[in-house]
């Protein structure tokens, strides 16, 4: 109750609340506009929409231009997410279970892909694979996305490992379970929510990535890259329809994460 009283006495609070609402409406407005423009009956992606139709949604599923990149993006996000989660879980375990010299350096190394700007990561992979004569391979994209998602996987899993502590696992080992068995039967069930959250997170980071991926996907374009080349030359409601579908996905993702671990834990 004292927090509510403090708010009432705080003259800054109403001003800040007002600013927040205006600023948030401003940055969310383009998303709302995009969503509704998908229902336009004309070829204009405009807001307010002219008429009502669902034909642009049908268009999304009928034209092949986006179908292959869409499946490629899904496959890429699933495969690279799985790899990053595996590598990330092992690293997070090492960092939480053991105290050892050099652990801080290893932590910094694991987080380093976050510090290097994405254009530079993209360029470096481009130059690297062209020198290795390995251009145009899907594997390259998988490795790139593993690098991009690994820090997030490590961070989220590490946080949930720290939160559950080690006492139950130690008890299981004390009662005769092998360390591996103790991990799978005791620790893993406790960090289930964290694992789910981290997997979703990796999926979204990979699926969304444009900047680094654009350097490597001429023959293997992902959905964001394909959309980019499309809207560079024209704007029509087909993109709005794709966008509307993806926004439903994003919203579901955020609400789900919020239910499971609380959205402020991962941002």
């Amino acid at each position: 109750m004292s927090a509510a009283n403090a708010r009432r006495r705080d003259p800054l609070y109403p001003i800040f609340a007002g600013i927040s609402i205006v600023v948030l409406l401003w940055v969310v407005a383009p998303l709302i506009v995009t969503f509704f423009s998908a229902f336009s009956a004309t070829t204009n992606a405009s807001f307010p929409p002219e008429g009502f139709s669902l034909r642009w949604f049908r268009n999304v599923f009928e034209i092949d231009e986006f179908k292959t990149p869409f499946y490629r993006s899904i496959a890429l996000a699933v495969i690279s997410g799985f790899c990053a989660m595996t590598l990330g879980t092992l690293s997070a375990l090492a960092l939480t279970k053991y105290r050892f010299r050099g652990s801080e350096a290893i932590d910094a190394l694991l987080m380093s892909p976050l510090i290097v700007p994405q254009v530079i990561i993209g360029l470096s992979f481009l130059i690297f694979v062209s020198r290795m004569q390995f251009t145009g391979k899907f594997t390259v994209l998988v490795v790139l996305h593993c690098v991009l998602t690994l820090p997030y996987a490590v961070r989220v899993i590490r946080a949930s490992l720290t939160r559950v502590g080690r006492s139950l696992e130690e008890a299981a080992i004390g009662l005769g379970a092998s360390p591996v068995k103790a991990f799978f039967l005791v620790t893993l069930p406790q960090i289930k929510a964290g694992i789910f959250a981290a997997s979703f997170f990796c999926f979204v980071i990979s699926f969304d990535n444009f900047t680094a991926t654009a350097f490597l996907s001429q023959s293997n374009s992902t959905l964001p890259v394909e959309i980019y080349f499309y809207i560079e030359t024209r704007v029509d409601p087909t993109i709005s329809a794709i966008a509307a579908l993806m926004m439903l996905g994003t919203t579901t993702f955020v609400l789900l994460i919020d239910r499971m671990v609380g959205v402020n834990r991962i941002t």
């Binding site: 927090a3 708010r7 705080d10 003259p11 800054l12 001003i15 609340a17 600013i19 600023v23 948030l24 940055v27 969310v28 407005a29 383009p30 506009v33 995009t34 423009s37 204009n44 992606a45 405009s46 807001f47 595996t86 590598l87 990330g88 092992l90 090492a94 105290r99 050892f100 290893i106 190394l109 290097v116 700007p117 994405q118 254009v119 530079i120 990561i121 360029l123 470096s124 992979f125 481009l126 130059i127 690297f128 690994l150 979204v204 969304d208 444009f210 900047t211 350097f215 964001p224 959309i227 809207i231 704007v235 709005s240 966008a243 993806m246 926004m247 919020d258 959205v263 402020n264 941002t267």
Partner: protein, 277 residues
Amino acid sequence: MTQRIRAFLLVSPAMLLLVVFFAALTTVLSMSVRNTAGDFTFANYIRFASDAHFLGYLWRSIRVACYVTLVALIAGYPIAYVMSRGSRRFASIITLALAIQFFSIYVIKMYGWMLMLGNNGVINRFLKFIGLTDAPVRLMYNELGVAIGLFASALPLMVFPISSVLQNVSSRYEEAANGLGATPLQAFFRITLPLSAPGVVGGAVLSYVFCFTAYLTPSLLGGSIFKMIGNLIYDQAMVGFNYGLAGTAAVVTLLMSLLVVFGINSLGGRLLPGGTR
């Protein structure tokens, strides 16, 4: 000792991946100091530093990144404050709205801004509708459009670090300041703001580096009129196939980003008493 071996075994797969990453980064550096024949030379750097055209990319990027970060701080701080001090219901609505905006696909967000800012876009239609303008105002394919697009993407990067710090700063400090006779404004500027300095520093770094190295936003909202250093890197590599010059621009970009990271960190530590890392 066995603990250490076990730990290294567990992190080794991830380290292997990062070896590839660092090997790739090194090739950029080595490309930038070689000519097409493969001999060691600083020619690319000399060319970059002596050409006003190239330096223009750098200057535009620094300028936009600076003021967008400043605006994001002024607009974002209140949001972070409300997220940590507001009623539970209001704070969670604000948080969810920002999170949905943050996690929306980047290309889609920029497409949304194209619908907003175009000559026949929402804002121009609105201005015409209320009779403020006859001809469309140019809001896109210029610096303004790029700044608006960057602001929207940089805002969550600014807000989330500040709000996570503010959540751990008890409002009791403000109450104590109030109780000791400080006005609410004094309490805010002398207690709350300094205590949240680590969040401000973190948010400013993320926002600045994001804007400085942006590629997608300037290429969609700046068109051919307003290109930034990210566009230079991309165009040199993908259109000109000049990996040497692209690498040079990339190394310069990375160094300047790191410089600013340390700069903001030490500035934050100097100006604000709570701002040490």
